[in-house]
Symmetry: D3
Subunit: 168 residues, 6 copies
């Protein structure tokens, strides 16, 4: 892994890293995160799932659209053309005793290019979770978004990375 901060030139000026010399390669990145909600909120979300309006469906769309906009949000990020982007949610088990409890979001991005898709996947997760917050805030203002992290990546010079986290 490289040392030091890459987005600055020798005078310390912020730059978009020059990737001219990099090879185009197939790349994948997956990020995860979660939002912690009260059980009443989870119930409201789950009831909505059975109906036309659906918090998770709206959040999924917002996350995918935000992943596409990453270069517009993150100043020194390179514009990219994606091959695919998906967002999945994992709801707590019914027997899960914790209150509040976590809803997990997972964003997976695939592309063929000179840079990785890590920040795109992180952005997709973040905006999906912000959308859940927006749609539920009137009944659960204290929700907390967290654990947004890179889970896995492949392709590019630094090759394969899978986060080393104990299960559970």
């Amino acid at each position: 892994m490289e040392q030091g901060l890459t987005h600055f030139d020798s005078q310390g000026n912020a730059v978009m890293v020059d990737v001219s010399a990099k090879d185009v390669s197939v790349r994948m990145a997956q990020a995860k995160g979660q939002i912690t909600v009260r059980r009443e909120t989870l119930a409201a979300i789950q009831q909505g799932t059975a109906r036309k309006g659906d918090v998770l469906a709206v959040a999924r769309i917002a996350g995918i659209m935000a992943a596409k906009k990453t270069a517009e949000l993150i100043p020194l990020c390179h514009p990219l053309v994606f091959d695919s982007c998906t967002i999945d949610f994992v709801l707590p088990e019914p027997k899960e005793p914790a209150n509040p409890c976590p809803i997990e979001a997972v964003c997976t991005v695939r592309l063929s290019g000179k840079t990785g898709a890590e920040i795109e996947a992180m952005t997709g997760v973040s905006v999906a979770l912000l959308t859940i917050y927006d749609m539920c805030k009137a009944m659960d203002r204290g929700m907390v978004i967290g654990a947004i992290r890179l889970w896995e990546k492949s392709g590019g010079k630094s090759g394969h990375f899978l986060r080393n986290e104990p299960l559970g």
Copy 2:
């Protein structure tokens, strides 16, 4: 506090909540969040602070610009006109033993309008932290963004809210 999900009509279709009948009032919202970084990363960020290029300066700008774009990112969010937006960072104390350690971001938004600025403040924090991630990821891929939460709000029908968290 209201019960139920507000962004759906009686058929369960997602809607932008109708705020026609609400009064214009002065509103403030403050959100906080953090990114957990290795000590080497914190040192690199702090060294950059003394020079022209500055991770936190770039992250601050990205967060303020993203707060302005919130209605473009969050599907059912109302477009708003702001009076002000600030982003501050709190770095760990030098004697802080933890490794990794947290850098905190705080976003405060003020406006005069029919809806609150909670999601704008949450978005500003989220994108500021995503920008720190982007600028440091080559040396610290495992950084985790978390604890993104509403800290305080005032104005509007639900009045004043200050999060009840133990100090520390």
Copy 3:
């Protein structure tokens, strides 16, 4: 109703119409449109409605988000702040013999301002229908989007308008 084209000055140069002298008033606009699809496509959309992924849910979100972006798409349109925006769909009756058959989209926008919301409502309908096209095009390339028209408006100097169309 005024005569002539309003978006040009006396030299024929395109301008954003000066609304400084207009009063702020409560305004509503509703637009309708439809997309004509083969019966197999309608069936696929209706089956999806019962599942988590839902063509109409995605189209609804896209339409609402596009209505918010109208001033960014339509060159001489004024930026506006909305009070509300909804999109509804009307599916053909089960006994409807026509093949292809029409799915109708209706967008309603409310705001308080110096200009009406007609073009915002038209844009919301258009992008909702384009999204249905995008999501079904692999199985029904020949779908036609049409009948996009202003249905009703109120507020502002020209007052109330309701389209005069025979039922059916």
Copy 4:
């Protein structure tokens, strides 16, 4: 032609279709549509054509700019890089008796990529027509936008398609 809806995975969750395995090929798509206007409106548009300000010139620019933004408007659409985009208008013949009468818009997009440009061409036509509506609405509120359809496409796995419509 493929069966079923492509933008959903096996659980019915909306996804951006994975095009990693597709070949890059040269692609073209052309879409058409029309707006039906009163004869007085057509005359005003044609008079403007001879002067600096020009409804069709503004509409053309809006349509081209919107085609470029398609991935930002249509949730599950892939970002693309274009080779070209043109928008043409066809006005009714002088002897055309119908009132109202149709102005036709045609958008042609060419690119080299893994996905087609059909939705980009449809979007270009739609926003060009919405712009004509916006610029003429003060004198012809009842204009109807319609017949927005894919006219021709080439390239990609499904090869060449030309709409089969009787002339006239």
Copy 5:
């Protein structure tokens, strides 16, 4: 006139200036700028004026659309809602001997709000001139954009300002 830089707080952190305490007032700002072109380029632009395609018409639209996007481009600028925006061009006199010669752009913005429209007018001029550059660069790569300056403003605490420039 105020002293010092207003976009920084006491710690030197960049902030969006807090305008909560300011009064809403009617505001106008006009900015001017120019692009210096070879006489052959001016002739090509003027010939186009007589035809459907028109460099200045495209540049005018681009400038108006960019003025609307100012808050998206200029980091610490407040989002605003306009009442009007116009862009005019002044071509050199036929007898003007200079080669290259200047085409002037003038952008005038009116709004009612808590902040002025100076940067919106400057942005409209800048993008209009950049568009002329883009459309003519294949035949006149050496064009220079300059003299972009605030010409006049009114409203707000600092009242009326008219640039003091000798005629000619």
Copy 6:
């Protein structure tokens, strides 16, 4: 160098130039420009350089982000994917007697594609200078942005170009 305006077809309609037949090649473009400020303003900017908040740092970020948005601002410009983008500033020498005095901005863009990056570099310079204007306007309303010009380009059919300007 080619003759005539390239962005119009034979009927004079504005078009996005068809680059299908062009080769992908490595391209670079560098543009320069300046803003003329009073000496007090330069001093305020230089004092800020030593602190966390920094006019030039904000302007640099705004310029890079705007260069990425060029296809969204300039109507007939092709969307591009960059390899790199940098913005540098040159401050007047301490002994420079002129008042007002010029701050220079330089934007360099590299990409691999079918079209050059000239307008992207020009746009980066323009928005960086507009940002300096925005951040200093309260104390120096009369600042002038100028001398925005292409300095150098390479790659593509027209090959290498370096502006021929006398030193000083």
